[in-house]
């Protein structure tokens, strides 16, 4: 009897994914077997797990290992993004417990779900096969749908979960269709093979099948990273989801979308660069403008940050449209910076907010600067960074993104980006005006700042400032990471 030959499998590239999956399953079981209403210990375990995984991932820096016949790879690009995901997850775990406790929805499933999301995101970043990427995307998305609707007792959270799920499923259809068309055109789902096939057969924009495949795949990712006109879910979902999960969603999955999209566009579809570059040019302008302009009129701080996150996706698209090393390294740097500053801002929102998701309007920040100066200073730093002012991470990130565009010759794109940044200052500053220039409307009864949230704030402030003052220490890694692409 002839045996089926099993290809040699090297598990090293997916070791982090395996560890996190096992940990998540273990946590699921611990959660049901240990009878305890407090779930804090689960957050500690998962945090330690995330840190340990980060050490493992970090130790793989500089290596290049392919496995599963080239469906998964461990390279610097994947490593850099995996670190971002782990950072986002770690910070989200730190801020989750106190919030979930307050909102009476501290179910232990939260932490396994976060870990599964990370596994999905990691597969997206490490996947070099359309199937792997799709698998990762689904693992990530399904977990996120649940996380968005995690606060079962809150109708807004339910709405968020359902909306995200329905629209997400819809967009997945496009993505999968695009993958199918690409497979049809090139006969492979392997990214490297797609590229060689396209190169050999001279497939460029003339080949409708190939072009449509690329466009549909791009559309699918555009949904995940909230690009206009596929962004409509963002404000509703971000507002409704539990705040720590909003923080996580805005940083991690967005970065994962960029990771997969970058790998695909730059490796599989370089022959179509003229087309996607042009398309991204338009989408970047639309995204930045719509995101920023709509944010101007919002009062709910979570909605403001939701629109701001759309705008930030637009800034990152500027770097992707440029597609050169400066712009691409800029995206990597920006995603890391955004993780720090956005999760930090959400941590402050959690502390200002009150039970039942109340106290979430800009007006509720009135007088924060006097009542809780440290918190206000931290928020100020995050907002400055989000609006892109030196000496913060946001400034440097935008600087590299826009420099990339200028190097590519997209002067106008950079100009529009800068104008958008200027407009965005309005709604960020508005929060600061309330914090420092208005008297508090009522006496605050402060929820105590728990140690994990404090740690998250310290890390976020440190990250935002260090990246802003000495960007070169991270930038050199970002530049290393994109060398393979």
């Amino acid at each position: 009897m002839d045996m089926i030959t099993i290809p040699a499998v090297n598990l090293t590239p997916i070791l982090p994914e395996i560890i996190l999956s096992v940990l998540a399953m273990a946590l699921l079981l611990i959660n049901v077997f240990v009878q305890s209403s407090k779930k804090t210990y689960l957050s500690y375990i998962s945090f330690i797990g995330v840190v340990g995984t980060a050490v493992l991932v970090g130790s793989g820096w500089g290596t290049h290992i392919e496995s599963f016949s080239g469906a998964v790879v461990q390279d610097n690009f994947a490593t850099f993004f995996k670190m971002i995901f782990l950072l986002a997850a770690g910070l989200a775990i730190l801020i989750a417990d106190q919030y979930m406790e307050r909102e009476d929805c501290n179910h232990g499933e939260l932490y396994p779900l976060i870990l599964f999301t990370v596994v999905g995101m990691m597969l997206m970043a490490a996947g070099t096969d359309l199937m792997t990427i799709f698998l990762g995307l689904e693992v990530m998305s399904v977990s996120l749908y649940v996380l968005a609707g995690f606060n079962r007792a809150n109708t807004k959270s339910n709405e968020a979960g359902l909306k995200y799920f329905l629209l997400g499923a819809f967009s997945t259809g496009f993505l999968l269709y695009g993958m199918a068309l690409t497979y049809g055109a090139t006969g492979s789902t392997r990214i490297s093979v797609i590229a060689t096939q396209a190169g050999q057969m001279g497939m460029s924009s003339g080949n409708i099948l190939f072009l449509a495949g690329m466009l549909l795949i791009l559309t699918g990712f555009c949904f995940k990273i909230a690009v206009v006109p596929f962004h409509m879910w963002t404000p509703d979902v971000y507002e409704g989801a539990p705040t720590p999960m909003t923080a996580f969603m805005s940083a991690g999955p967005k970065a994962a979308g960029f990771a997969a999209a970058l790998r695909l566009l730059l490796i599989a579809f370089p022959t179509l660069q003229a087309d996607w570059s042009q398309l991204l040019w338009v989408l970047a302008v639309l995204t930045m403008t719509v995101g920023n302009i709509t944010a101007l009129r919002q009062d709910n701080i979570k909605r403001i940050l939701a629109y701001s996150s759309i705008a930030h996706a637009g800034y990152a698209l500027v770097g992707m449209a440029a597609g050169n090393s400066t712009g691409t390294a800029g995206i990597l740097f920006y995603m890391l910076s955004y993780t720090f500053m956005n999760i930090g801002a959400f941590a402050v929102i959690i502390l200002v907010g009150k039970k039942g998701e109340s106290n979430g309007n800009v007006q509720d920040f009135a007088g924060l600067g006097f009542k809780h100066p440290m918190l206000a200073v931290a928020m100020t730093i995050f907002l400055f960074s989000l609006s892109g002012m030196p000496p913060t991470a946001g400034f440097i990130g935008k600087f590299y993104l826009f420099s990339g565009a200028i190097q590519k010759g997209y002067i106008w794109l950079a100009v529009i980006g800068v104008l958008n940044s200027a407009a965005s200052v309005y709604y960020y500053l508005r929060v600061m005006v309330y914090m420092y220039m208005k008297d508090p409307t009522e006496d605050f009864a402060w929820t105590k700042v728990s140690a994990p949230i404090a740690l998250c704030l310290v890390l976020s402030v440190a990250g935002t400032m260090v990246l802003g003052i000495v960007p070169s220490i991270i930038l050199q890694y970002a530049q290393e990471a994109i060398k393979l692409i």
Partner: protein, 118 residues
């Protein structure tokens, strides 16, 4: 070329024939006691007439979902069983892992109380 599909064609014919024949015979042979309840269309034990926006107990969905989950996972066992010998130890280990993961889910569901009706 098309000859390869001949067994399928035969299968389809046999299936249709079986259905037609059995229905015909049962209507011919069986006794007929008509009642309002018996004449109403069958709808899974539910009231067939009324508003279509009626609410079901969520427990149905839960059970249905769990059923589909484990049912579909069980489907994967068939191709593996057919190729069991060719896949060898590797296949066994892989399927073992697969079952373990399923089992974790099963324990979780069980302990969570999702299998209890009340």
């Amino acid at each position: 070329m098309l000859g390869a599909y001949l067994p399928i064609l035969l299968l389809v014919i046999v299936a249709i024939a079986f259905g037609l024949v059995s229905l015909t015979f049962s209507s011919l042979i069986g006794p007929k006691k008509k009642s309002a309840l018996k004449l109403s269309p069958y709808e899974s034990g539910c009231e067939p007439v009324g508003t279509a926006r009626d609410r079901f107990s969520i427990k149905f969905y839960l059970i249905a979902m769990l059923f589909i989950l484990f049912d579909i996972e069980a489907v994967f066992l068939y191709p593996w069983a057919i190729l069991y010998k060719k896949l060898g130890v590797f296949g066994l280990v892989e399927m073992g892992l697969f079952i373990v993961i399923l089992f974790v889910g099963y324990i979780y569901v069980w302990k969570k109380g999702a299998l209890e009706w009340e």
